[in-house]
């Protein structure tokens, strides 16, 4: 891993530095010796065919899956050794592919639970719904177009609204690195438009990693694109550069 030496001097500026990352499931390497770096305030889009290991990369970063070898550093902190909740508290937020919200709770309660206070057992017991909490929830709810749905049980929201709610639940934590897994999948055209607008407002002052299939959407938002194939980086760079790469055309865009 000779890149590590170089990286050591370089990654001061990177928010996230992934180096030599490998994970294998019973011998099958879902992610294989992967390295990439994300800058401050950068929007990185990861694309790739099904089974390329995109979601696994997010799983590895947020601690859901443990790496076999390699390192993930976030603002100089090694994430591979940390537990999921510690990673979240360090400032990494993750949205799942399917909307992952609490259907039995109201929108307000969904957001309140995500509010980064009272995260310990005693903290949760003594947590008060004070003015600061309510104002913050209200503010986020307006951002995600759900201000008039606060008392609605989350299960009654539409698919798109659920996606927004989950984004809101991340937003309320104000993470420095936001990871979104197919945020516009299954949305109607109008919802997609609104989502793009939402993303454009929330990406300010943070780095974002997005997995997306919708090329139009990718083109709209990406600063830099990483193409994954069979657990490895096939190509990396601007959208234009990636689109011109013959390897990419062969395995992904061309098929």
């Amino acid at each position: 891993m000779n890149s590590a030496v170089i990286a050591d001097t370089m990654n001061k500026d990177f928010v996230l530095a992934v180096e030599g990352l490998t994970v294998s499931f019973d011998g099958f390497k879902a992610v294989n010796d992967l390295s990439f770096y994300v800058d401050e305030n950068e929007i990185r889009v990861i694309i790739g065919p099904n089974g390329a290991g995109k979601t696994t990369v997010l799983d590895l970063i947020c601690g859901r899956t443990k790496a076999t070898t390699g390192s993930i550093r976030f603002k100089e902190r090694e994430l591979t050794k940390m537990k999921e909740h510690e990673i979240v508290r360090a400032g990494v937020g993750r949205k799942f592919q399917n909307p992952s919200i609490y259907e039995d709770l109201t929108v307000f309660e969904n957001l309140e639970i995500s509010y980064p206070k009272g995260r310990s057992v005693p903290g949760a017991l003594t947590f008060r719904r004070d003015r600061a909490v309510k104002e913050r929830v209200q503010e986020i709810a307006e951002t995600i177009f759900l201000a008039d749905q606060l008392d609605q049980r989350a299960e009654y929201l539409s698919h798109g609204q659920k996606q927004w709610l989950e984004i809101g639940m991340l937003l309320i934590q104000d993470p420095e690195l936001l990871m979104l897994d197919e945020p516009v999948a299954g949305m109607s055209v109008s919802e997609r438009k609104k989502t793009a607008e939402l993303l454009n407002t929330i990406i300010k002052n943070r780095s974002v990693i997005v997995i997306e299939h919708d090329m139009k959407f990718v083109e709209d938002i990406a600063h830099k694109v990483t193409v994954l194939h069979q657990g490895k980086i096939l190509s990396e760079g601007s959208m234009a550069k990636v689109q011109a790469d013959p390897k990419v055309i062969e395995v992904y865009l061309g098929h």
Partner: protein
């Protein structure tokens, strides 16, 4: 403790103790196999497993009574018929239960636990009302009793051999059924992806019903075989339930091989400890050992790592 015995004596005792361990192993496998299919393949926790076993035992009892009274000349062979009848009786009851109850609960595994517990209470009382509260004595054909002298010291129990042979036969049959037959493929397909399996034309409801029936049927055969070594009464089924579940869970729930390996581990541990310690302590230590290992390695002994 061995100072007083000659080497030959010690040798033969260890042989016999090993054999005792193997019998216990066979008993565990037989108990657990039906449950492993139901729990491992379908995710249903059948707390009434013991009662299905006891149904098999009662069937055996009535078959023996029938032979004694009407065709005593064939008494020596009744046990084979009894096992077949036990399989179908328990299997049929299992399918009925699946249809009436279990199929509504596939999405709620913890609730199957409660519902089947209720079923076990009902079956116990049903046995008590119909067959009487006392245990019944199942008379065995003479050829199944006693033991074969291998050497002067070493004797091998015939019913032990019988249980072992039966265990091997049923295990092989189940393995063939699950891994070689097209039906087995359907079962595994349903386990892995119910929706997909339905979409490609597998009748998932039928597969579920027969799988559950098969598991219960095997429990019935096990119960039939256990009339050789245990009691047959309305509440006898309760004696097996904890051991059975631990064997299945310890084996990692999803693989047949895991169940067998776990039955082997637990039976050997228990029978060895029983030899050196008192019975109660051996039991406590075995259970405790299993529980502690499960706490440290909750996925059980054998589990396939999967990508989520």
């Amino acid at each position: 403790m061995f100072a007083d015995y000659s080497l030959a004596e010690l040798g033969s005792i260890f042989v016999m103790q090993g054999f005792a361990g193997l019998i216990l192993f066979s008993v565990f496998v037989l108990m657990a196999l039906g449950l492993a299919i139901i729990f491992g393949q379908m995710g249903v926790i059948n707390m009434a497993h013991g009662e299905f076993m006891i149904l098999g035992a009662y069937v055996t009892y009535f078959t023996s009574q029938f032979f004694l009274n009407y065709i005593p000349s064939l008494f020596g062979a009744y046990f084979f018929l009894a096992m077949i009848l036990a399989f179908f009786a328990a299997g049929a009851l299992g399918m009925a239960v699946e249809w009436l109850m279990i199929r509504r609960l596939y999405k709620r595994p913890l609730d199957t636990l409660l519902a089947t517990w209720g079923l076990s209470l009902i079956l116990q009382q049903l046995y008590r009302t119909v067959f009487g509260p006392r245990e019944v004595g199942v008379e065995l054909p003479n050829w199944m009793m006693g033991s074969l002298p291998v050497s002067e010291m070493v004797e091998v129990q015939i019913n032990g051999l019988f249980v072992m042979a039966l265990t091997i036969a049923i295990t092989v049959a189940v393995a063939l059924l699950m891994y070689k037959s097209s039906w087995g493929k359907q079962v595994r397909a349903v386990v892995q992806n119910r929706v997909m399996a339905g979409a490609v034309g597998i009748d998932t409801e039928k597969v579920d019903r027969y799988t559950f029936g098969l598991g219960c049927g095997i429990a019935g055969v096990a119960g039939s075989a256990f009339t050789m070594i245990g009691s047959t009464g309305p509440t006898s089924g309760q004696l097996y339930i904890v051991d059975t579940f631990l064997v299945v869970v310890f084996g990692g729930a999803q693989s047949l091989l895991g169940t067998i390996a776990s039955a082997f581990t637990i039976s050997q541990a228990q029978s060895t400890m029983e030899f050196f310690l008192s019975g109660s302590m051996a039991k406590v230590l075995t259970l405790l050992g299993v529980v502690i290992i499960l706490m440290l390695r909750p996925q059980g002994l054998f589990v396939i790592k999967v990508r989520r």
